[in-house]
């Protein structure tokens, strides 16, 4: 099978570019810890209110962990609890969420906080809120007729 010299050049360039992309992503994910949200913990979706983490949604200061705060959200058609929350600027926060009914999407506009929220699973992501502003939390996975009304607000304040 014959391959033109220029095609070889092109494929070498293309494959190299893909390898560079993968290396950047791999180092960032596995060495710097920037993995996509992938928590492997589970919860009974019918007993979310009794669960240690989820019985009091909202922002909590924590000690002795790699992060300073835990910000807990409970998703239920068609609302996020809490409906609004203030986070101090520069706080390193673990955002934790689960669903009491169907699948929801936890997206915070203008940030990298974006994760699927599925009944039975706990979703979490750690981030540092380093820019002041009002960030809209919205459901970005279809969950029913009120899907587009399902919101919350994170206010990063000094």
């Amino acid at each position: 099978m014959h391959m033109h010299k220029f095609e070889k050049i092109w494929l070498i360039f293309g494959v190299t570019a893909l390898l560079v992309f993968l290396s950047v992503l791999g180092v960032s994910a596995f060495y710097l810890g920037n993995q996509p949200p992938s928590c492997l913990a589970v919860v009974d979706p019918t007993k979310v209110d009794e669960h240690e983490t989820f019985k009091e949604p909202g922002l909590k200061k924590v000690e002795g962990k790699d992060w300073d705060y835990e910000l807990v959200f409970v998703a239920q058609a068609f609302a996020y609890t809490p409906g609004t929350v203030e986070v101090p600027l520069g706080a390193k926060v673990k955002v934790i969420a689960t669903s009491k009914d169907v699948i929801h999407g936890f997206g915070v506009a203008g940030t990298n906080i974006n994760m699927m929220v599925e009944p039975g699973y706990i979703s979490e992501i750690v981030t540092t809120f380093d820019k002041v502003g009002e960030y809209l939390v919205l459901c970005n996975e279809y969950c029913g007729s009120g899907h587009h009304l399902m919101t919350s607000m994170i206010k990063v304040v000094e």
Partner: protein, 49 residues
């Protein structure tokens, strides 16, 4: 002289008719677009928390 002229003309034509220079430039334009878009979004990712 006329003969020599004819010869050189044929030669350039053959070279040109089998060339894939334009293809190489075109695909590298595609490659450039892919890299720019990817790097752009990657920096957006880095910039956001």
């Amino acid at each position: 002289m006329a003969k020599a002229e004819l010869k050189s003309e044929t030669k350039t034509e053959i070279e040109d008719s089998s060339s894939l220079k334009g293809t190489l430039v075109s695909v590298f334009f595609v490659g450039f677009f892919i890299v720019v878009l990817w790097v752009g979004v990657y920096f957006l990712y880095l910039d956001r928390f």
